[in-house]
Structures are given as C-alpha cells and as structure tokens.
Symmetry: C2
Amino acid sequence: MRIEIICTGDEVLTGKIVNTNFSYMSQKLEDVGLSVQWETTVGDNRVDLLEAFQLAGQRADAVVVNGGLGPTVDDLSQEIAAKAAGDELVLHEGWLARMAEMFRRRGRVMSVNNHKQAMLPSKAEMIDNPVGTACGFAIDIGKARFFFTPGVPRELRRMFEEQILPRLLARSGQETAIYLKRFHSYGLGESHADALLTGVEEIVPDGSVKLGFRAHYPQLETKLTVRGANMADIRAKLEPVVQEVRQRLGNFILAEDEQTLEGVVLTQLIARQATLAVVETFTGGQLAARLAPLPGAETVFRRGTVARSLAEISTAVGLADAPGTGALTSDVAETVARAARRQTGATHALAVLVDMEEGADRIDLSGTICLAIATEHDTVSRHSRLAGGREWVRLGAIEMGLDCLRRYLQGLPLYERTDFEKTDEKA
Amino acid sequence: MRIEIICTGDEVLTGKIVNTNFSYMSQKLEDVGLSVQWETTVGDNRVDLLEAFQLAGQRADAVVVNGGLGPTVDDLSQEIAAKAAGDELVLHEGWLARMAEMFRRRGRVMSVNNHKQAMLPSKAEMIDNPVGTACGFAIDIGKARFFFTPGVPRELRRMFEEQILPRLLARSGQETAIYLKRFHSYGLGESHADALLTGVEEIVPDGSVKLGFRAHYPQLETKLTVRGANMADIRAKLEPVVQEVRQRLGNFILAEDEQTLEGVVLTQLIARQATLAVVETFTGGQLAARLAPLPGAETVFRRGTVARSLAEISTAVGLADAPGTGALTSDVAETVARAARRQTGATHALAVLVDMEEGADRIDLSGTICLAIATEHDTVSRHSRLAGGREWVRLGAIEMGLDCLRRYLQGLPLYERTDFEKTDEKA
C-alpha cells in the first residue's frame, strides 16, 4: 500500500515551525510496519492545495493530510477536499452539537467562525476529535482514501493513534495486531548493537519480527516491531526474542518502552526511601536538571551543587583542604561525593567532575570524567575519557553519571567499556 | 520567482531525522524576502526522485535539492539529476583533486567510493563545499534551475548562505543587498508587539522594510528585513526604523541579532569583574545550565545551588533559622540571595524561588515566583504569578530570573508587567 503525507500551512512552509508532525506520523507508521513513500508541504493556498491533493490522489492508495481544519479563513482543507472530490460542503449537525457542548462545558461562547469546522464534504466520514474543535474526516480523492487531521500536535497524536492508524492497517490488509517493543541503552553505537543482535529476527521464522534502531546520542533505541493475529500470538512470538535481546545487550539496557534513565534511577531511589545529592562541574546544572524536576523527586532530590572549578566545588561541599588544588582523579571524585553526602545528610551522593581540554572547540577535543557515588558504607568511582568536542563530552558525562548511578542501584558493575570512550583505563 | 525545495533520504522520509534542514532553508529565504512555495520529501529511490525532479522542473523557476550527494550506493542525486536533465555524468577533475587534498591533510586515504562524489552532470556548474567531500552543483531541469546541496547540516548551512542564497537573489532580479535586523525580547506576546510596532514599516515609504515575528516562548524575536541597492543604502533606511523599534519595545529588548540573554548577562558581569552565585528550586538546575557552561563563564560563575524545598535551600546557603518554614515571599528570596552571596563570596547572587500549585498538571496550573538579586550594598526583588502548567511556569521563571538580572545590571526597572503574568501585584 502506497502512503503519502501532505502537510499544510504557511507556518510550516516558511519554516517558522519545524515539521515534527511529519516525523511523528512517519515513525508511527514505521513502527507498525507501514511506510510513507512521499511527503508534500504546501501553504494555505487554494491552487497549491488542490494540485497537491490531485497529484497524491493519482499516485497513492492512502493519504494523510495534516492541518487546515481551524476556524479561520486561511484554513482551507475541507473546502479543497470537497473540490478535489467533486463534492460539496454540508453542515455536520452531529459535530456542531459536539462543539457547542465543548464550549458549554468550558463556560465559553462558541463563535460563528467555529461553524466552519462542522462543514464537511457530503460524502466524508467524520473522524472524532475528543480533545479539540477540529474534527477529522476521510474521503476518496482520485484512487486514494484521504484522511484529514488537525495541526495541533496534541490533537493529531490522539486522532492518529486511536483512529487513523487502525484504518490504515485495515486498508493495508495486514494482520491488525501490531506491537512495538523498545529497549533504551547507553554506551553502544548503532552498528555495534546491530552486530550484537545479528539473527534475532530469525528466532521467529515467519518474518513477523522486525529489528530497527533510532540513535539519539548518547542513547540508542532498539526497536522490535511484531505482527500477529492477536495480542496472545504477539506475546508468544515476542517473548523469546525479548529474552535474547536482553541477554545480548545485557547491562547496557537502561530502560524499556516508556521508561527513561532518570525515571529508573528515581524509582530505584524511591523504593529504598533514599535521598540524593548531586555535585557537578562542567555539566553546569544539566545533570540536576534531568532529575530534580521529575514528579516524585520532591522527597528524593535533596540538593544539587554546581561550579566551574574543582576548588569551588570542594569549598562548596565543605572540604577545608581542597582536593581541587591537584589534578582530577577518581580519588578526588570519591572525596567530593563523600563530603557532599555528609554535608546534605542524603543517603546517596553522585559527583560528576570533568576536566575538559582547553582551546577552541573542535571535533577531537576531549575531556576526562571522574565520577563517584557515595553512600554511608560504600564509595565507588569510574574514570573515563570522551572525545568529540565540548557539547559531545558534556552530554556523554551527564549520561554516564546517571547510568553509573543506575548500575550501582541495580547491583551491576560500573565498568563496562562503552563505544564512545577513548580508552577504558582505570585511574 | 517560484522556489521549491526537495528533501531526499530515507532517514528524513521515515521520520528518523526531524527535517530541520528544510525549516532552516525556508527561514533563510524568508529573511531575504524570498519564499518557498512547495516542498517535497522523497526517499533514496530512483523512480520517486526522478518524478519529484520532473514535477518541480515543470512548476518552479528555482529548486533546491537537499541530500543524496554522499559516497554510498543509496546516494542518487547526481545520477538522477543527469537523467532528468538528459545529460550524462562525467568526472570533475577539479573536485577529485580537492577531495584528495582534503584526505591528505587529515592523514587519511581516500576511498574509491569517494570518486563517485566527483561525478557530476557534464553541463553542471560545480558549487564548492569548503567543509566536506560532497560538492554541490547547479543544472537546468525543465524550466527551473536546480541547486543540489549536501545533507550534513553544517555543510548545507555554509553552502546555502555563501553560495546558494546569492545565486537565488541574482536570479530573482531583486536588489541583491538584503539585511536582517533582529530584536529579542521577553515579556511581550506576538500580537502585543505587533500592535506596539504598528506603522514602523511605513517609516521607509518605498516598502523596502518588512516586519516579522518568530515566537518561541518565553522569548519573541522581532525581525526587520531591509532591501537596498547596497549596504550604505540599507543602513540609511534601517537607522530610523531601528531607533523607533528600540523606543517602542523599550526595556523589553534583551538582546539584538546574534546576542543571547545569557550572553548579555555574562558580558555585563565580565565587564565589572563580577562573580555570580545562583540559587534555584523548581527550575531544578536549568537556570544554572543557561549560564555555567558558557565560554567565559569560568571566571564569573561561582556556584549554583539547587533544591526542591525552600527549607533545604535555606540550609544549603547557611541560614540557621530557616525562612523556609513560612510561605514564600519576596523577603524570603532577598534573605536567601544575601546568604548565598555571603556564603560564596560572589559579588552578585540571584535567587529564583518558585511555589508551584499542587495537583495533576493542567493548562491553568499556576506558580508564584519570588526572585531576588543581592550585591554587597543592595538587594532587590520581584514577585510574579505565572499560569500555564508546570513546564510553562518553569520556562517562564528561568527567563524572568535571567531577564531581571539583565535589567538590574543595565540599571533598568525590574518591574514591568509582562503579557504572561496573571497580575502585576507586588508582594
């Protein structure tokens, strides 16, 4: 089945808005084993909209149109859809009543402009929008079924997942049960993970499991798309593959599905009624900013301390004879972590200290990372060197700090060589 | 002149990469008074590429194609360009020599694959790429001039600004001198700023000044695009308009052109050899993260302290009888700021303390912000209420904190009602 997407609107066409609606839809389709073949962006312009609809209607089997369903005069999707389909607009009484009800509940008066949002082509199938005033609709243009969706991301996402995807899957004639299993890791590059997972698709011989990756440094997402007759069938197919992926990627898997690294760390700390102090230098508050704002962190996140120099950090955590006068070592990081824990009374302290190479930023600029975790009875540390310029090292240091805390809390070794490190030397 | 853009590549088409190259190019064109009329994205696929080139060649006067110039077999732009233009590929000896030289300088051996990057249509004009191995080129297809550019953002940006834009301006027959003047503000909504600036375009009666906006909460960018015969002409036209914009937007202008709010604050602090301590609660390290990592901040950023509770913040800055037991007021913020300054020995301290409404996140959830700035002889504060949910309040509090520090350092009043506040009450 050939699928096209048409994005509309001057704000997208002029680049005022980055088109994340498109990448969202395309990824969602990939996740269920469908693919977009062609994408078109046009402005709020009758001539271009009509031509885009007609061209896509000649080429595709299904077309998703995004945007142009609002109440203002530059929202033209219904009008041009009717024209392209050789149809005319009629008032959809059902949607008008739904809108009136929405406004009543919010204590507001519906504007006359909103009536326009209930004008649909007479042959269209209305598609519900439970979170906004722009309903979607479906209609045939040329040889394709067109699905019209709202431009507001929150409204698009709800409608796309609940209503458009099932319709597309049904039209594609695929088994409609599809499941996406995701693994998040830190420390493995895409090609390394791909090599480690050679052959896992073949564990299910009928080809219904597809392996994919999405790299967003420093994390890598490993995806398994599984198709089946129903969810029981999918679970049976998926189970041995998931076990195999978990074993091959091992301790590098930091979270699965909707979980995040910071969420896993927070859950672990909450489970043991722990509190946390964070100390950081080069990362400049970005490590604290991953954990402190999370819901549930109020009782866990005790204190974050940020400075640019080791000497200032040492003073801040109450170390009199500052270790900051010497070079950065794992011992220094351990001393700082212990002091931060004592000072704040937290059960756990994480110190991530970075010595960044001087000079103009360039791709091979490197940094030394010394991180340590202290508890009442225990102190552990890890030493590493990352290269790739300031921002690359900064992002890597934050991720390594959080991931080492995750490993510590889960009883896993802190040291496993990552693909991003220059060496795996211990300091 | 009708301009189209064609983006190529499976990673963009499948949504693995968000298409920021397109929004970048479209904005750059808008900034010089040109507009994109139509955008197409296709994958690394001969049939679709050829059709996309042919369709655009029938409709447009100029087409920019992005991507597909790499050394691997799925990079097809040169091949399909030649086919669409009825031309054939020939080796461009000049570019081959340039590539060989690049590899030599980096101490690496050029792969045979790279030869492919020097194969251009025989009628093409080669376009230099000073920062990569993918040269661009221009060729006529249908009635349009096509410009082929590399997909790597850094390479695209250099080539687009230095080589593609001047060629497009020349073809458009416009006066080629164009200048973009930008003002950055915090506290004004787009419609408010638009109303404040009514009529400024008419200060230059020939219509050569165009006003535009780009809102990215919490900041608003106000843009003046000016065309002229040459830069002297532009300067003469622009000067009275810039004066008028500065006067009408007044103290809300926090930076101009390439400057940033945090950069302006840092420059002010460096100029008076000052040092800074930052204390924050709900913003969770994100305030420190705006300033601490900046080049030049090593000597200025003394210490950042982050906690979730007022009591913990009070303890952290060395206040014995914690003000955190009572409600959050401007007095409390002033006490905390003074204590943070004393504790760290910094010349300036900024405290941004937020009392966020409890409950599930929703669009009308509000927060109280009390911020204070302390120096040796002076303490000032500002009180505010923002509504819009947790993330909205968090971003607003960070921006208001930095902007109040900017106002203090520039000798401007801290209090001026913003469009985002619920009230302008003083606490």
